[in-house]
Symmetry: C2
Subunit: 381 residues, 2 copies
Amino acid sequence: MQSLKQHFQVPYSYEVFFTERLFAPENRVFADFVQNFGNPSFRKKILFVLDKGITDIQTELTAEIVNYFQHHSPADLAPEILVLPGGEVCKNDPRFYEEVIRALDEHGIDRHSFVACIGGGAFLDMAGYAAAISHRGVKFIRIPTTVLSQNDSGVGVKNSVNYLGKKNFLGTFAPPVAVFNDYSFLESLGERDWRSGIAEAVKVSLIKDISFFTWLESTADAMNQRDKSVMIEQIYRCASLHMQHIASGDPFELGSARPLDFGHWAAHKLEYLSDFKIRHGEAVAIGIALDSVYSHLIGHLTKEDVDRIIHLLKKLGFAIFHPALAENDKINLTNGLNEFREHLGGQLTITLLEQVGKGVEVHEMDFDLIKKSVDYLEQIA
Amino acid sequence: MQSLKQHFQVPYSYEVFFTERLFAPENRVFADFVQNFGNPSFRKKILFVLDKGITDIQTELTAEIVNYFQHHSPADLAPEILVLPGGEVCKNDPRFYEEVIRALDEHGIDRHSFVACIGGGAFLDMAGYAAAISHRGVKFIRIPTTVLSQNDSGVGVKNSVNYLGKKNFLGTFAPPVAVFNDYSFLESLGERDWRSGIAEAVKVSLIKDISFFTWLESTADAMNQRDKSVMIEQIYRCASLHMQHIASGDPFELGSARPLDFGHWAAHKLEYLSDFKIRHGEAVAIGIALDSVYSHLIGHLTKEDVDRIIHLLKKLGFAIFHPALAENDKINLTNGLNEFREHLGGQLTITLLEQVGKGVEVHEMDFDLIKKSVDYLEQIA
Ligand SMILES: NC(=O)c1ccc[n+]([C@@H]2O[C@H](COP(=O)([O-])OP(=O)(O)OC[C@H]3O[C@@H](n4cnc5c(N)ncnc54)[C@H](O)[C@@H]3O)[C@@H](O)[C@H]2O)c1
Ligand SMILES: NC(=O)c1ccc[n+]([C@@H]2O[C@H](COP(=O)([O-])OP(=O)(O)OC[C@H]3O[C@@H](n4cnc5c(N)ncnc54)[C@H](O)[C@@H]3O)[C@@H](O)[C@H]2O)c1
Ligand SMILES: [Zn+2]
Ligand SMILES: [Zn+2]
């Protein structure tokens, strides 16, 4: 009678649908999913939560949803459609996730009902957190509306809000039950948000898939010209690589490695130093540039490969340097590494590049070489 | 390019250790676990969070822990040992879990560090929630100090706090990394908390294991006399049955069935109606009596079996009736069933008894027969 050992596995499945005009009356993708999920003969409830950044532009979205549910009626639509501000602000103030919880309680959303969320990565993170902690998790449907949320954050398994002044301090691992990537939402994106998410595609291509990197080189001009089919293919391939990584590795990050965070340690610090004026993807582009130069300096990456990476980032319109990197660099960059380690926990683990398409893990970084990389980027910026 | 399908499994393991005087210098169980967890060469941090209900009685507990860590030093002990009130009150006010989060942030507890929590079921639920949502889950060690938390809640996978006036409204599924069931904590329990948790053993024996039920009949007198070895065996067997059920079934309750909630629909309502003056286990005993009589009335259980169950509950010192059951019974009991369905979500699913040792699921309950069961219990109480 010394001890009892427990062991079990919890299976998760979800599908990412690619579609357009999700709530056009003739588009059955969403209705079919909701109708057939779980026990099809059991009538479900659904609550919609919308990013004001979108409803301000697509003013008829709420009416379209109501109309769609009148037409198809795959579930009981909650009489309230909640609209809240999007962007980082919605993760900073607990009022917003509390408002989502208030609404889902008021409309009787239980563990077998849905919260469907339409918005950017920040908004999905916030509403996903509210859904995950209510009744120990109500079913969450993501409808991402930015490039970054369609190709990266929206197809993953995390949610979060900021707390005690710390980015993503509160959150859970909670896969959605479905994701609907609707290209038509992207049409209203401003130039910066259109571009920003492409940095995540560059990132994942560099650590996982050289052919995707080559494809990004060949399509960069078309992407800048907002070519629809190129953007759709980019999102599909990037989402697919992220999803494969999650499924093959350590989905809930029980270990210390986080290769999908290539370029992210400096990016997180930069977002913070710029008071979140710099977009996540913009910061990631600079982080990629920095860690690529560093990878070269420690002898992993050839000079040609570094040039190729920087060339692609510039061609896509990204800045590869930010003045905040050079101010108080010793303190900021050292703190940045520490904070990254602390958030992940355990031993410092940074992914660098061995070659284009292949990452490599290191457990320490040398400050003088980081500084040299920063100086180099400043020169060629 | 229609859709991407995601599928993966997340493995969970933890061990429940049975021990005594956990922080006596000569007891290495805890130190060995902490030292060897994960990467043994990596120095971890640990924060202790203690239920004031225990430290009020075991006044030297904090000093013992400090002394233990000086002696063995398996990890860096946070300089603060947090003591907060236990019992349902700690789940009712967000200040308490926020205080746990404040402390774990202040002491740099990251995803590879531990929060060790010593307390009753309510306290573990509250601190476990704080740990689960911080950094998307820091490692949580449970040291349960009541019979109920040692034989049931502490070995399971759930945490929660109350919110919007609703019991367990916020919470997550988050298995601990280890559980230490230390018998010596039970010595200071008052009579009601000593008895209360035994109701969960009766419950699980009725739905899963007739030989455990027979054993409970034969040891009831010894249990009443606070026989140590009998209590330890009861906890071990009960914990083991709960753990087996979790591992074999649906650990994170993705479906609607929850057989371990036999007797609980009425229990939850009674806890609420009595303003939580009645203990969880006391309410469960009444819920078991009610659903056993009901099972007989719908033809599942023989009269002899009902008598046997009621006899055991009485022998263990449980009340089998509460006046609140009879007041406004139509409204209260119907609401009770509805609230139970809502919290679980989906179709109403109630476990009743087919025979002693075997549960059966039903999807509706008849009010007149519930009323008849209540009346019967009132008569024989
Ligand atoms: N959960 C994860 O795994 C994960 C991964 C990466 C990033 N993130 C998070 O994602 C967030 C960044 O997300 P983002 O890049 O999507 O930006 P965002 O969500 O901050 O949105 C940027 C702005 O665009 C608006 N907007 C959204 N969709 C729009 C549309 N279709 N048309 C016009 N305006 C629109 C928003 O209201 C907001 O003001 C950060 O908080 C980051 O931490 C999360
Ligand atoms: N997470 C789950 O799966 C699960 C399952 C069942 C019940 N629960 C929850 O557990 C709670 C009930 O837990 P409980 O029955 O352990 O009671 P409790 O935690 O409410 O404790 C009762 C009282 O005993 C005190 N106490 C704790 N240990 C003591 C000790 N060793 N000596 C003296 N006093 C002590 C506490 O401070 C408290 O005042 C409820 O909130 C219930 O919802 C959770
Ligand atoms: Zn990113
Ligand atoms: Zn119980």
